[in-house]
Point group: none
Chain length 211, copies 4
């Protein structure tokens, strides 16, 4: 399957535009982004984007809708498959997936956009909440429940665990992508996920079983 060198595929236009829009929105912020910049980056004229999207706002909404759910569904899948057998491993996989996704600027672009724009758009906030956060919380709750049932996890609060799992991933994204603050020792998202997961599972205080 040789990839054709951009034979004008008008069917792909909307996605090309959204890709361009995502890039420009995350670089400049939604309000500061100019439709013309998006058009140019998509290889189109300004007017042409309006053949595919009725407004700049519509692009943002499409972007959020498109991205939302992907990660949440992946998390759901992961938990559904892994939780019954080995909750610890499932939790670790979950964290790795999330951390890796967040550490990749391209993948985290959409969440980052939601992060910056949800504050001034109740629609986006509500949509993301119901399509991503609620689903993620439910999946995490199921995973926790399975682990507790198996005697592998303590019976802790789901929301606390959610913050403990998601928070470091978001923090990692923010620190590396926005503030360019790279970890000193750890040099891959995977290792960062391992280090964080280790702490989540076993805690900062040493265990005394070594007798």
């Amino acid at each position: 399957m040789p990839q054709p060198r951009r034979q004008r595929r008008p069917e792909a236009r909307p996605d090309e535009i959204l890709d361009a829009a995502l890039a420009v929105f995350t670089e400049q912020g939604f309000a500061s982004a100019r439709v013309e910049d998006i058009a140019r980056r998509a290889g189109l004229s300004k007017g042409a984007v309006y053949l595919y999207f009725p407004s700049k706002d519509a692009m943002l909404n499409a972007l959020v809708e498109q991205s939302a759910g992907k990660l949440a569904r992946a998390a759901e899948q992961l938990v559904a498959i892994g939780a019954p057998g080995d909750p610890e491993a499932a939790l670790r996989s979950l964290l790795k997936m999330l951390m890796t996704a967040m550490a990749d600027p391209d993948i985290s672009a959409a969440p980052r956009l939601v992060l910056t724009e949800a504050g001034r758009s109740p629609e986006i906030a509500a949509h993301y909440r119901s399509q991503v956060l609620d689903i993620a919380r439910r999946a995490l709750g199921a995973l926790l429940e399975a682990g507790v049932a198996a005697g592998r996890f303590r019976d802790v609060d789901t929301d606390a665990l959610m913050r403990l799992m998601g928070g470091p991933c978001v923090a990692h994204m923010v620190l590396t992508t926005i503030f360019d603050l790279q970890p000193k020792q750890i040099n891959s998202p995977d290792n960062m996920a391992d280090a964080v997961c280790d702490l989540i599972l076993f805690g900062l205080v040493p265990r005394e079983e070594a007798a």
Copy 2:
């Protein structure tokens, strides 16, 4: 032919304007915020704002500069005082302070603004990084070192711990302030901090008390 209506002129004008600006910026985002809205909220006319700040950008910068450092310095103090005696307690205090601050919409407004605007403003990002993040990381590193020296903490990676401590606080702020996703069981930032701290210290996996 202006028809003015004069007000008192307290020395506090700049701060009043900054308060109004912070509110409007966090509500609408910096780019969408109108100077006139800020002025009205501060009880002034549009033009009067320019007697105190040369531009809209200057307001944002003043806001960031004003807020930056406060939290970081508080964290530094807290660690310096508490770490030598009881590292666990110091860590818990630190987390509580951070979580409480983040859960208060007024206090977290400035950090939230940085979160949404740093992505498109290298100056803001650099300033916040050097005035807040670097300081916070150093304080946390010192705390960790003290705990390790005292045999109370495992010798883990500072950046991983930083993400584990800060992440949940940021996540809590984002979830409650932006997405209005309140925790189901836990009803105060203080309790959330306790729950998270408990997990950070002792881990999700139960300890074998029997031994």
Copy 3:
């Protein structure tokens, strides 16, 4: 929700805008002129002007650059061709060309604009000086030299002659265009040029040779 009314788009747009700008600038002065007035006079909307010129200042500069040199080059040509043969005739032609140009409100509009704006814009002053005044002075110097060599002119100072040639033309322009002070007897720029030229050549004091 714009409700546009489209027009044709000739390649001549920039020139149409400059024509309008020149008219408005000379009528109201650069600072008092409104871009919208220029646009309307050019048959465009305010925003459209900015498709062709990045700023109001750029219009002024374009105007000055466009006009500068035309007259000076014409003067150069005239002198180069006429001076060797008949210096007196060349001088008369030069004066007539200048006087006629200055007396025509459309042609003198650009110089008038320079006259009013150069005082507050060192760039304009420098540009006009080097592109017009220096060239004109050089041409006049050459003409004078040729006349002296041919024994037709006295060996006078170039700068004095420059003021004596240019001054009356500028004065004529100022008096008729700005102060609406028309000559009582002389009714055409051509005749005024002749009268002035006659005085320049032969002086106010009668010659005694008539005997």
Copy 4:
């Protein structure tokens, strides 16, 4: 008479303000000049100037009215006294006075202001025309008439002579004050006046002394 060191002389305020206004207007142009700049230069606060002048326009008008007439009346005097006895000397004196005045940036500031502002203000143009130009023309006409009657001047057109006398002075002012184009050989207004006067009187074409 020792000059007191600026003992607050409220009576002189209007003039101090006008001096400041003239300076600022000629530097920046009337429209670009800010009342605050004028106030500061006059050593006052912005509001205080409005105790003496009702508006910025009023300052300009006062300035024009103040300056207009001075020169014209001086020219009138000069002609009235000198013309009957020695028309040539009177003409030379007139030219010298004018040239010297125009070459002094302080003295020529007001005429320069009129030059730049009369174009957009019919009132200023009309006032200056009636208070200065008409008077100057009449004086020059009288001088010419006297000279002709005495057989010393040819019977030329008054308006042409007016342009020939005034033009070089204005040109000298414009070239030196606005375009910073100093004469190469002639180094004083007085000498420039002499050179120009010599040309006006005796012409560029050599006289055949041999007779």
